[in-house]
Each structure stands twice: as structure tokens, then as C-alpha cells.
């Protein structure tokens, strides 16, 4: 009943065109149309941060963004953080080295939020990391190691 429109997005550095209806969330289009299932659906009301992606340089909850709103935008998902297919980013490595991953479900959102934090504040305090990740919930409550991992990645980048 509503018209499908073709959107043009730059996703993880690659130009993508995708036909969507206006009521599709960016989260659903990433997962279902573009097969980028690293971005997780969890609360779907903007409270847990599992669906965090970076749109035109800003971390947002992709569950609360209509795909049609971001026509022409540049989107970075967790799949776009690694420098190449065989290598993780320093930030991702730090999560593994510090044992910051428990069940793992929140981690893509955590890593994307941490990447955004470090892009805006390359040398954060532990308090600033906690604030920067306060929109990302971890049901395993593994917050301390996550904060340590982000601080370690920030140190490695210095």
C-alpha cells in the first residue's frame, strides 16, 4: 500500500542500493536486506544499545531510525570496524585480550559505541568510558572488563 523507494547508502565504505518501504527501521534493513547481522536486535525501543551503528559520524540506535530517513548517508556497522577481512581492529582485539566478551550479544553494540567514544574522545578516563557506554546494556554484567578493554585500546592508540 505504501510505495517502496530505492535508497542509496554507503555501508562500511561500499555503495549499496536497497528498496525499502517507509516503515522499515534501519536495523531491519541492515540485517534482512543487506545481511549485516552483526548489528543485533534486542529491546527494539532504544534502551539497550545492541543495535548501535554510526550514521554520518554519529552513534545512533538503528532500531529508532527509519531507513528512509538516512537515504544518502554513510553507515558503519560492526562489520565495518576491522581494517581488512583477516584482521580485527585494535579495539576489537582489546575486547578479546581482556576477556570482555561473555555471552557476546551486546558486544557489537558495545564495540561500535566504544569506537564512537574514542573517535570523539581519544583519551577517556574510566568514568568517561562508563558514561560513553551507558547506553549499552550487558545482561552478563561484564562491564568492568569492557571498560578495561576500551581503556587498553585507547592506550594502544596513543
Amino acid at each position: 500500500m505504501t510505495a517502496t523507494r530505492v535508497l542509496h547508502l554507503t555501508v562500511n565504505g561500499t555503495d549499496r542500493s536497497v528498496a525499502v518501504e517507509p516503515h522499515r527501521a534501519l536495523l531491519d534493513v541492515l540485517r534482512e536486506e543487506l545481511d549485516l547481522t552483526g548489528t543485533k536486535e534486542c529491546c527494539a525501543v532504544g534502551e539497550c544499545g545492541a543495535c548501535t551503528v554510526i550514521v554520518d559520524g554519529r552513534a545512533v540506535n538503528s532500531c529508532l531510525v527509519l531507513a528512509i530517513e538516512v537515504d544518502g548517508a554513510s553507515v558503519t556497522t560492526v562489520e565495518g570496524l576491522a581494517p581488512d577481512p583477516d584482521r580485527l581492529s585494535r579495539l576489537q582485539d582489546a575486547f578479546l585480550e581482556r576477556g570482555a566478551v561473555q555471552c557476546g550479544f551486546c558486544i557489537p553494540g558495545m564495540v561500535v559505541s566504544a569506537r564512537y567514544l574514542l573517535a570523539t574522545n581519544p583519551d577517556p578516563t574510566a568514568e568517561e568510558v562508563r558514561e560513553g557506554l551507558s547506553g549499552n546494556l550487558c545482561r552478563c554484567a561484564g562491564y568492568n572488563r569492557i571498560v578495561e578493554a576500551v581503556l587498553a585500546a585507547a592506550r594502544a592508540d596513543r
Binding site: 517507509p22 527501521a25 539497550c48 540506535n61 530517513e69 547506553g135
Partner: protein, 290 residues
């Protein structure tokens, strides 16, 4: 989400026309942090969503204009909280914006959206009330400016009519020195709604005003004109009596976030804390209550 049509008009008159033609069946989209939740939960089922982020004739994000700071309807809280004009003139608004939702939410949420959603717990509404906010509205009959206290009527209810678009929020910058402070109580740090939120403004004329949120159907202002609360040397029992009189205007409910009794108790605590901070800020601004 149920299906809807989407429009991204380029001018305010086009947006007004679209909204007016669809009457109540169209909704405005700015940051979407409340709207899309409603769409997902089917509490909102519009036929048309009108995205106002493409409007070229909206006021800019921040304009300092004499006694006022005008904030465009699509300016997001994360940007506003970093803006030097906002930080200089509206510190309590910055404190409130820094508590809203999360970084991800603040990267999308707008002040205009926060007031239009008309949540009793909206964090930015108490400081907007304390800064005497006026809401710039464009509608089918033309442009008008409404006092914020006349816009929010109750939970989810505003005085806005179908076809109206909020184009800006105008916040007053008092000529006299003033100290303003915001605080809120939540159950957890991130992504929670306020159990109670309070903004206190102490003026050099001795008037102390409080804007209280989450303790009534809508945020509201109360004031002490006696100069007692603004006077650091006033007797504690006199201050307490005046504060109790102000707090008596609150009518909180018990819900999942807090009981009625707890809200009143915390209203007392936050009133005292924000009063102390605001009084201190007034002194540092070079003002001294009578």
C-alpha cells in the same frame, strides 16, 4: 511497524500543508526517539510521517538574540550540550540534556520533540520552564508564539493542533544575574526516565523558582517571592516551611519507577540540592539575593 507513507518536505509551509491535509493521521518526525517507539509498539499508527529534517527555512540550531537564545526544532541534544552559547547562558538545560537517554538517544533527540511528546518526566522541560521558554509554532493560520506552560496540557497532550509544526524553542536569558541548576533522580544511570526531576532558578531580585517534573500530570513552576529561600542566612525552619508549601503543589503517582511517598521525599532532597547549587551559581555570577 504498521505501514505508513513518508514525506520529507523542503519548507515549513509545505510541512504545515501536508500535516493539515492529513489532520490527525499525520505525525511529525524529528529525532524519532519517541515517535519510532510509538510506531513500533503500535501506540501510534499514522498514515503519514512528515520528516522535518529537510526543512530549509527552519531557524538555525542556535541563535543568540538579545534576551533570548533561539533553538531550531531539529537541533539535537548532543550538539546543543556542546554549543558555547547554550553552555554559557543555559547551564541547567545542558545538565538536563546530558541526562536524557543515552549518547545514542542524544545524538538524535531534539528539545522540540521532548516538549511535543509531553511526557510528565521529560527532563528538558523543567529547565525550559525555568528559562521561560516560548514555543514558535507554524500552523495553517500562520505563525504564533506560545508560552511553554500553555503548550503542555497533560501526559501526551499539548495545545498544538493538527497542521502545527514547532519550528523553534526560545529560551529567555535574564537581564539580572541568575543562578539555575538541574538535578534528577533515576533508578539506574543510563537510559532511564526520571523518578523526579527539578530545576531551580534563584534571581538577584530574591525570587526563587522551581520547575518540578515527574510529580504531576505535567511539569510545573512554583515560586517563593519572599526572598527567604534565596537568602543563605535565612533560618532553616523558615526555609523548610516555605519549601513544604511549594512541594505541596506536587501530586505524584505511584508507578514502576517510584512510590508517591518516595517521590515527595526525593522532591524535598532535590529541591534543597538544586537550591544550594543555584544560589552558589548566582553568587559566582556576581549577583546576590536581597
Amino acid at each position: 511497524m504498521r505501514a505508513f507513507d513518508y514525506a520529507r518536505p523542503a519548507t515549513v509551509p509545505e510541512a504545515v500543508d501536508l500535516l493539515a491535509r492529513h489532520r490527525g493521521a499525520a505525525r511529525v518526525l524529528a529525532g524519532g526517539t519517541d515517535l519510532v517507539v510509538g510506531l513500533r509498539q503500535h501506540t501510534l499508527t499514522p498514515r503519514l510521517v512528515v520528516d522535518i529534517k529537510g526543512l530549509k527555512d527552519l531557524p538555525p540550531a542556535v541563535t543568540a538574540a538579545g534576551d533570548a537564545v533561539v533553538i531550531g526544532a531539529t537541533a539535537v541534544m548532543a550538539d546543543l550540550a556542546r554549543n558555547p552559547v547554550v553552555r554559557r547562558h543555559l547551564p541547567a538545560l545542558v545538565e538536563a540534556m546530558d541526562t536524557v537517554g543515552s549518547i545514542q538517544i542524544r545524538n538524535r533527540a531534539t528539545l522540540a520533540g521532548n516538549l511535543c511528546h509531553a511526557s510528565p518526566a521529560a527532563d528538558t522541560v523543567p529547565p525550559m520552564l525555568a528559562y521561560d521558554a516560548k514555543v514558535h509554532v507554524s500552523g495553517p493560520a500562520g505563525d504564533r508564539r506560545l508560552a511553554l506552560r500553555d503548550v503542555i496540557l497533560g501526559p501526551g497532550r499539548t495545545a498544538l493542533e493538527p497542521g502545527d509544526v514547532v519550528t523553534a524553542v526560545e529560551l529567555g536569558v535574564p537581564r539580572q544575574p541568575v543562578g539555575v541548576a538541574f538535578a534528577r533522580m533515576t533508578r539506574r544511570r543510563g537510559v532511564d526516565l526520571a523518578s523526579v526531576n527539578v530545576c531551580c532558578a534563584v534571581g538577584a531580585d530574591g525570587v526563587t523558582r522551581f520547575a518540578y517534573g515527574a510529580v504531576a500530570p505535567r511539569p510545573f513552576l512554583v515560586a517563593d517571592h519572599t526572598g527567604t529561600l534565596a537568602d543563605p542566612g535565612a533560618a532553616e525552619d523558615r526555609k523548610a516551611a516555605i519549601l513544604e508549601g511549594l512541594i505541596a503543589n506536587a501530586s505524584p503517582i505511584t508507578d514502576v519507577r517510584a512510590s508517591q511517598e518516595y517521590r515527595i521525599a526525593m522532591l524535598r532532597v532535590l529541591s534543597r540540592r538544586t537550591l544550594a547549587t543555584a544560589t552558589d551559581r548566582l553568587a559566582r555570577a556576581g549577583g546576590r539575593a536581597r
